[in-house]
Every structure is written in structure tokens, then in C-alpha cells.
Amino acid sequence: MPEPLLSVRDLEVSFATDEGVVQAVDGVSFDIGQGEILAVVGESGSGKSVSAMTLMGLTRSPNARFSGSAMYKGEDLISASDERLQDVRGAEIAMIFQDPMSSLNPVQKIGAQIVEQIQAHEALPDAQARERVVELLERVGIPRARERIDSYPFEFSGGMRQRVMIALALSCDPNVLIADEPTTALDVTIQAQILQRIRSLRDETGAAVILVTHDLGVVADIADRVAVMYAGRIVEQGSLDDIFYDPQHPYTWGLLGSITRVDKPRPARLPAIAGLPPSLADRPEGCHFRPRCPHEFAKCTEVPPLEARVEGGQHLDRCWLTVEQKRSDREVLPGEIGLRSKEGAPA
């Protein structure tokens, strides 16, 4: 792998709340190189969005605590000052959010919203900034961009607004693009268009993309590498093929197994992971997945480190089972890998 563009080490984020301290992110480490698409996968509450937003300082607040580092071009983003982060946001690292309906200011013209970002980072006269916005809108596939630059967000459909968000994110040629569930709120045919657009923009600009998603279909479609998160920790990390064809963590098996596939005969019963993810304020000791895992054994009360257990060294996981046990224990359902259901687990 080339020199990483962004290198996150032991990132921890916790929030003080009425219910106690919530450890949202617990020791997350990953690297991402230029032109790479890293998918961070997990369910709600897994810490995937908090991790991504923390890189831009968007989770900073008086009741938040951070530790660890995120090195970007020799500079740590976690300890950087608010002023320094302002310069990084939008210019070096840009973000696309989940809900395009609410992520644009409803009473500001879309062109003005993009110009605002450009002028926050570059001393560019209005006319030139507008010209660049027209180019950007054309590039993300908005027809009649020159007319529509003066439209308001409510005059666009969801898919078109997400294109505006992408144009906004690209307006200062960022090196890292963070996309937080960029297609979750969109219809499938529009989702396919947007994913295609993100992929081709990555090819053109060479930006690194961190894609936060819960949808393994989207991951299979677009990612180069994958990190699977559960209850604040990365439980498995590897290349796309590692995760899909040789998954090491039982949670990953469960995720893969519970997806409905349209290209295979349907199983009589949809495999589900029993139980619910733990509350972040009160997580089980040791491996957090333990209470839902059918393969739990004595050692699981100790926290398994995230390390390479499979030969090769790039595929990391947090599970005490041996590689041989994993390969024989994970259930191979028709065309897919799954997790057997746990005896006596809560429904």
C-alpha cells in the first residue's frame, strides 16, 4: 500500500450524558491512501458516523472527550485547534451527509451555498466562483446547471439535492471525501446513479473516500477495503474480498447472512442475528458481541485485540476463535456465509 494519506490511531470518543458516559468510539485505527475507497460498515450506534465526523471536528462539544490521533499530512486533526480545522474542513476534507433533504439551507440558493464554501477557502471573485459552481454542477450531472444555480433546494428532488451536496463537497478539490450514508435516503435507481458518480469522481480526482454505510450491497459495489464496526470498535478490517469471501468475525458472518439477495433463490427463513446491539453506556465486558454470539467461550470475557490472524497480515479481526475454527464454524448458506442462531439468546 502507498503512503497513507490519513492515518487514524486509537481514536476514542466519549460523551457525557444524563445516562452516564457513552463510549461512542473505542480504539479505532485505520489508514486510507490516495484514490482508495474505505467502507466503514456497521449498524446504528456502532460509532461509524461519530468516527467519521470526529475527523472533521464536527463532534466537538463541551461534553465530548477525545483521545488518539488522526495524522493528515503530518498534522494531527484530533488535537488541532478549531481555527486550523476550519481551514481543513471543506478544503482538504469534505463531507457528504445522509439526508439531502435537510442538509442544505432551505432559504439559500444552492449556488450561493457552494460559493460560500469556495470563498471561505479561496479569495475568488464572485463571478469566477459562480463559474466554477456551474462547472461543478455539470460535472455531478445536473442538467441546465447555469439556470439551476439560482434555484432553492426545495426545487430539487432528493437525488438532485444529493448531487448538489456532492458538488459542494468537491468544490475545493478535497483530498479526502467522507460520505456518510450518501444513498440511504434515496431510491434504488437513484442510488445506483449516485454511487456511479462517486466512483467516477474518485477516478478523476484521486481523492480518498471514506464511505460510511450499513448496506453491504453498496460496499460490494464500490469499496476497496472494509472496516466492520460493532459497539464502538472495529471488529474486522480487510480487503473487499477478505471480508466477503473469508470473513473472520462472527458479527460479519451475521451481517452477510442477514442480507436479502435478489440474485439467489430465497431461503425458507431469513437468517437473523439474535438479540440487540448493547447500549453504549453499558457494554458487556470483553468482546462486545459475546451475548449474541453462538460461538462464545470462556476466553471471550477478555477483549480480543484487533490483529492479523489470517496469513498475509492485512486482514485484521477481533475474535478469539482460531482461523481453522472460524472457517469451519461459519455457516455456508446457499451462496452466502451466515451465522448460526444462538441457543437461548433473547429474541
Binding site: M56, L58, D82, Q86, D87, V88, R89, G90, A91, A94, M95, F97, D99, S102, S103, L104, N105, P106, V107, E116, Q117, A120, H121, Y152, F154, M165, L168
Partner: protein
């Protein structure tokens, strides 16, 4: 737009008709409202009464009386039953005083409430926020006549910091005009400052959690710009509406107490005096004056609202 204005003018005429007709009717049926009796002075003899009734047309059916009165109002020769003063002239003389009071107060309460709303929202939940919240509640609960009377007594009469009521026209002496209005402006504003700062504070706290504010931060804008361009601007939209409506309401009768307490001799005080004497012509004219501004400001607010929030379409 043209269609919207035509529609609104139609509605305005309808409201003015309804308000004036109702006012006229009410004064015709209340006990002791017979204007002839009042005009004749003490112990009138029946002949005198009959003459007055015939002369002023009080024997006509109510709708004829109403129409005649309305006609006089718009031709400008409506005169008071008690003082014989021309009502329209009187209104013309007094209106600038009421405007001065209302406009000044509206500016003061908007600016003060914006500042307080911003300040308390930024410190939500902390000591400063809590103490200002209590102050705002006190402000909302204090009646104008009481605050006005206290100010008049202490600041005006006892300590002599401000003049003890009265009004000086702007053209005569701008400084004295301003100096005389400080207390009335403050008294009239207090309630609104309390209400507006609370509403703005909660709007800001809602807006700050909006996704587009997060987007604004992610764009790398300064915290100042995020606050003013995105949070404050969007939080003010509903307030501007409220402001227009309240301003209309203040012009249309909300200054009665303030004017009376500080002896400003504006339209409000005129209304209070005329009602006290059951003097129908001025009451009718003032009611029309007031409702005209309320309806006008309503329309202005709708146009303004559509201008600042493009999602609203006028129709």
C-alpha cells in the same frame, strides 16, 4: 403577485366594513349610549332631545345612520358628539405621536430581543441563561400601566432623570422628542422583549441542531458566519412574521395604556377618552384606523415572508 394583492385588498375592505359596522352597532345598543341624551346636557327637556335627534339624524334607521357616518368619515367632516371637534383633523394631529411611539418601540424590542436571544441561546442552561429567563418572565408578567406608573414616579417625578410624561414634536426639538420618548418606548417594549427573546432562544436552539448547520460547519465557515448566516437568519424568519403582526396590533390599539400613562396625546389616548365618553364618531374612526393598520401589516408580513422564505408561495 398582482392577484395576491387584489385578493388582499378585497379582504381588507371586508374586514374594515365588518369592524366598523360592529363598532357602530355596539355603541347603538349599549345602555346610556343614546348620543342625544349626552349632547343635550343635564336635565334636557323632550323638545330639546327631539330637535337634536332630528338635526343629527338619530331617528333614521340604524343602517342609514351608519352609512351617513361612514360617508362623513371618508369626506373628512365627521365631528365628535361631545366636543364638536373634527375627528379626522384630530386623528391627523395625533397619529404622528402614536407612530413615533410604536415604531421606536418596535425597533427597540426587536434589537434587544435579538441580542438577548442570541446571548441566552449561546449560554443555554448556564447561570446567565437561567437568570435572564427569570427576568424575561418577570417582564412578560408586568402590566404596562404598572411599569409605566413606576417609571413615571421614580425616574420622572422623584429622581427627575427623565421628563415626567408629555410629548415634544420631532420638528420642534429632536433631542427633546427623543428624551421624552425613552420611558414610553421602554415601558411598551418590555413585554415584547420578554416574549421575543424566549421565542428566538428556542428557535436558535432548534436550528443549531439542523443538518444544514452541520453542513455549514463542514464547509469550513467560521463559527461566526455559521451563527449569523445560517442559524440566526433561519431562526429569525418566524420572528419577523410575529414582529409585523405585533407592530400592527400595537398601532391598532396596543398603545392605549402607554399613551395614557405618559400623557402622549396620541391616537391611543384619544381612543381611551372617546370610549370613556361614549363618543361614537371618534371611536369609529379610530377603530377603522387601527384595523386598517392591522390588516395592512398582515399583508406586508405575508409578502415579506414569501421574500425571505422562498418555499412560501403567495396566492
Amino acid at each position: 403577485m398582482a392577484r395576491f394583492i387584489v385578493r388582499r385588498i378585497g379582504q381588507m375592505l371586508l374586514v374594515l366594513f365588518a369592524v366598523s359596522a360592529l363598532t357602530f352597532l355596539i355603541f347603538n345598543v349599549i345602555p346610556g349610549g343614546d348620543p342625544a341624551v349626552r349632547m343635550a346636557g343635564r336635565h334636557p327637556d323632550p323638545g330639546q332631545l327631539a330637535r337634536i335627534r332630528a338635526e343629527w339624524g338619530f331617528n333614521d334607521p340604524v343602517y342609514v345612520q351608519y352609512l351617513k357616518t361612514m360617508q362623513k368619515t371618508f369626506t373628512g367632516d365627521l365631528s365628535s358628539y361631545t366636543t364638536n371637534v373634527d375627528v379626522v383633523d384630530e386623528l391627523r394631529k395625533r397619529a404622528p405621536r402614536t407612530f413615533a411611539l410604536a415604531i421606536g418601540a418596535a425597533i427597540i424590542w426587536m434589537l434587544a430581543a435579538t441580542a438577548i436571544g442570541l446571548y441566552t441561546a449561546a449560554r443555554a442552561g448556564r447561570f446567565a441563561d437561567r437568570s435572564i429567563t427569570i427576568l424575561a418572565l418577570v417582564g412578560i408578567s408586568m402590566p404596562v400601566f404598572w411599569v409605566g406608573a413606576l417609571m413615571n414616579y421614580y425616574l420622572g417625578f422623584k429622581w427627575g432623570i427623565f421628563p415626567n410624561g408629555g410629548y415634544v414634536p420631532f420638528a420642534d426639538d429632536p433631542w427633546e422628542w427623543f428624551y421624552h420618548l425613552i420611558m414610553p418606548w421602554t415601558a411598551l417594549s418590555i413585554l415584547f422583549i420578554g416574549v421575543y427573546s424566549r421565542v428566538l432562544r428556542s428557535n436558535i436552539l432548534d436550528t443549531i441542531n439542523e443538518d444544514y448547520v452541520r453542513t455549514a460547519r463542514a464547509k469550513g465557515l467560521s463559527e461566526r458566519r455559521v451563527m449569523y448566516r445560517h442559524v440566526l437568519r433561519n431562526s429569525l424568519i418566524p420572528i419577523v412574521t410575529l414582529w409585523g403582526l405585533d407592530f400592527g396590533a400595537v398601532l391598532g390599539g396596543g398603545t392605549i395604556l402607554t399613551e395614557t400613562v405618559f400623557d402622549i396625546q396620541g391616537v391611543g389616548q384619544y381612543a381611551a377618552e372617546s370610549i370613556g365618553q361614549l363618543d361614537v364618531p371618534p371611536v369609529l374612526a379610530i377603530t377603522l384606523f387601527g384595523s386598517f393598520f392591522i390588516v395592512l401589516l398582515n399583508t406586508v408580513v405575508d409578502i415579506l415572508y414569501a421574500a425571505i422564505d422562498p418555499r412560501i408561495r403567495l396566492q
